[in-house]
Symmetry: C2
Subunit: 522 residues, 2 copies
């Protein structure tokens, strides 16, 4: 049974099995049950082919949930979880939205490697595996987990609890919450001054013992986080240095953004308890540092295995409800990504205007007043010194106001842009995370259908369903955490911006008032 769907993002086909479409295009979905994250569909030009399920939204005419036939595709072998999720815009593409360009993230490799995966042999579960070994569902190991290919381990050292909160599933708070300061970026030298780098003093609140870390240490930690955590939106590190930037400004900006990054890390009940993070925050000894690094790199509870560490609530979970919640979050996240991008554009342009246009206009006005005052001194018998002094002072005041405009972004817009950049990174991760849940949900439906058709034991289908619960709860908890943080961060961002703006315009008023008084007794 075919249904209508709307494209959430533009998609460019990379082979002849797929069809291209534009954001907001209306599509016909021939079978609304995705197979391995793909749907069969027809675009508005009448071309038929595969459509990535996470790119479209079914337009429901109310009431239709019966599962219909779908063909299974040949399974491929699970792929090693080899790589950070981040692509494309992570570094230096801060102004590009992953929501409108997310197709660019999967396909370059896919095109080359897909065909050989089609021919690889079936194994393990009866349920078909994903055709697309670069989908986050496969890459993250969540597919393998859901299908029961990840054996329970003898001892699970870590455990993260998901509990029911006022807004549904949430990560249980860390028993030892802490914060962490990042201060005092200092230039260090190595190899007798041949190599220089910046070292930051990093002080966790619960130890109060500073450790000194370089950007490359943050980068090592970040890669560990990407390797280990699925279902969790790992905050992007601030971008690497772009060429041509003033070093001091750059270091300052990186420090500010590392602070926000660290705030998100310590605020997160799961990320903050990661052993590798603890090592990063506490180890002050070189030899221990290397040992700890190696230990973290060899850790087994990563990717698919990390899914084993969750303790989930016993509450009933309605898959349909989860899916609706996820769809709602997906629409929210897309709109938030768009508006964060929009505000980033506007704020960046405002910074440019403050440094350029605004400063220039006020300085020109100041210069013109100065010039009037100079003219007035040229005919000495009539030079009216007091008036000239006042006009000349007015000129300097406006030149000064021009400088104040140029300096102001440091006090307000920069902080806004820092926060927006953090959120761009966090939102950038969600399409992949949502895809995990979509993939898991499709597996449940598929296994249930096979069960109904007598092709699978009920016990196996129940196993898939049970493991899918874990994915659903975890995603829900992560969505919940995201919302709680964004409320805190955006409230703070808006208040800080308004406070600084008020202080700025008050300073302008003070300057002008002082200047006006010079005319009082002329």
């Amino acid at each position: 049974m075919s249904v209508k769907a709307r494209a959430l993002y533009s998609f460019q086909s990379v082979n002849e099995e797929e069809i291209s479409f534009l954001e907001d295009e209306e599509l016909l979905v021939l079978d609304e049950n995705p197979v391995d994250g793909w749907l069969k569909g027809e675009n508005s030009q009448g071309q038929r082919g595969l459509v990535p399920a996470s790119y479209v939204e079914i337009i429901r005419p109310r009431s239709n949930s019966n599962l219909t036939d779908s063909s299974l595709s040949p399974a491929s072998s699970p792929v090693e979880d080899e790589d950070p999720r981040r692509r494309g815009r992570a570094n230096g593409h801060a102004l590009q939205s992953s929501y409108t360009n997310s197709n660019a993230r999967y396909h370059p490799k896919l095109h080359l490697e897909r065909h050989d995966s089609v021919s690889s042999s079936r194994k393990g579960s009866m349920v078909g595996r994903n055709l697309n070994r670069f989908s986050s569902f496969v890459r993250s190991g969540v597919e393998a987990f859901v299908l029961g290919d990840v054996p329970m381990m003898a001892k699970i050292a870590e455990s993260y609890t998901i509990e029911m909160g006022p807004w549904g599933p949430q990560w249980k708070e860390s028993p030892q919450p802490f914060s962490c300061s990042i201060e005092d970026p200092t230039k260090q030298t190595k190899f007798k001054g041949i190599k220089t780098y910046i070292s930051y003093r990093v002080t966790p609140s619960h130890t109060a013992q500073p450790v000194y870390r370089r950007y490359k240490h943050f980068h090592w930690l970040y890669n560990r986080l990407l390797h280990k955590f699925t279902v969790i939106s790992v905050p992007h590190l601030p971008e690497k240095q772009a060429t041509g930037r003033f070093e001091e400004d750059f270091i300052e900006k990186r420090k500010r953004r590392l602070i926000l990054w660290m705030d998100h890390m310590t605020s997160h009940p799961v990320l903050s308890q990661y052993e590798g993070f603890e090592h990063f925050l506490m180890c002050a000894n070189d030899k221990q540092w290397k040992l700890g690094k190696r230990r973290a790199e060899k850790e087994e509870l990563v990717g698919a295995h990390f899914m084993l560490t969750f303790q989930i609530p016993s509450e009933h979970q309605d898959l349909q409800d989860v899916e609706e919640r996820v769809d709602s979050f997906k629409a929210f996240a897309k709109k938030m990504d768009d508006s964060v991008l929009q505000l980033t554009h506007v704020a960046s342009e405002l910074v440019r205007k403050h440094l350029g246009g605004f400063r220039r206009e006020f300085q020109r006005l100041g210069n013109a007043f100065q010039s009037i005052s100079q003219a007035f001194t040229l005919d000495p018998p009539y030079c009216s010194d007091a008036l000239n002094t006042a006009i000349s002072h007015t000129g300097r005041t406006y030149e000064n106001i021009g400088e104040m405009f140029a300096e102001q972004p440091k006090d307000d817009l920069f902080h806004m842009l820092d926060t927006l950049s953090l959120y761009q990174g966090l939102l950038d991760n969600f399409p992949d995370i949502i895809h995990l849940q979509k993939g898991a949900f499709a597996k449940v439906k598929e296994s249930q259908r096979m069960c109904d058709e007598g092709k699978m034991e009920q016990e196996e289908a129940d196993g898939v369903r049970k493991r899918c619960r874990t994915v659903g709860f975890a995603l829900h908890a992560e969505m919940n955490h995201f919302h709680r943080r964004r409320e805190v961060n955006f409230k703070e961002m808006m208040q800080a911006y308004l406070q600084q703006q008020i202080a700025f315009y008050q300073r302008v008023v003070q300057q002008l008032e002082r200047t006006l008084h010079m005319y009082d007794n002329l």
Copy 2:
């Protein structure tokens, strides 16, 4: 004896007798005594020819004042004072300085009509008349006056006294000073609605009786003023309507500028006492109006004859001192004209920015905040209404601040531009007025030399010297009046601007403070 000189303005020769030069070019003046307002000179390219004396400034190496030989040029007949002094930039060229382009004002006609004037016959005084019948010196009748060609009249109905004040000669205050309001521009119709025009209510303070006047009445008065008054800087009327302007804005602007024009008129001891002006301010009867107009148009004490109406002080007047004062004023007026032009440019550009860039930036910021707030409502369980309301309100606040920026020029920059426009007009007149004094001074030197050479009676030379005193005192009084007015007007302009700017930024602060409070109890 040749001396060095610096070009105050660029000059483009229009025939082969003249040489071209650029502003600030160094010239060699072969004889520093101008003949009919022209000097013989050599430009930096070695070309020799005539140079307009008022365009250059002699670079004095200290101590040289002996008069040397100069050839007399053929005299031309006096020319009827037929025309307004205003040229070129008066209407619609508000941003062009007459000081840097003043050559453009004399030459278009000069080129065609000069040769026939060369052949015209000598008459009257022994002293040569000006070659250039379009120089203000000739046009205004001041040459004729100085040379004694204007016979004393039987009865002089008017009389204007120049007295010695703290800064030298000044116009004696009018015995009945008054001000005059211009209000309530109203659309009127005529010929059963076929023709529409704007009528202004004009109320002089000393009669308190309103009369109703159209722009064409102002224009009639203005032409009378130009016709009658020499040595006095008649304020330019506000420009005629430029095409494509919003009618209401234009009417408002014309009203504001007519008010400033009127303020200058009533502030001026000579202009304010003009009979035609009195007629304009008081006549409320149609028949009387026509009679009074005809009387004013037939008046004899205009141009050269107007010079007969001055009562001058008996104080000694040193011609050299007058010349130095005039040179000093000339340098001042040029610099003031430049800086008024500069401030006009800057202020006009600021208006454009307020209406365009500034408004747009703030509105974009407002839109982006609104967009963030909309995104936050999309995932209902987490929609944090109070925060969203606050962010959305912040968005509206910035949209509103954008509108405030767009409205603000009406409160500050427009008034500044109005004042600057008045001063552009007043300054525009001074090169011609200064030229009168230069011409008169040249005649004094010339007649004295002729006298020394036995070619002229001492009595005749004394007459020229005596009449030149009148020109000198009148110019001095007018310079003095200009300085006193500019002190009043520029003080008022600067204070009003600063007051409005302070009020504006205070309103911005209030808006932001109110908005900030919305985040208080979240």
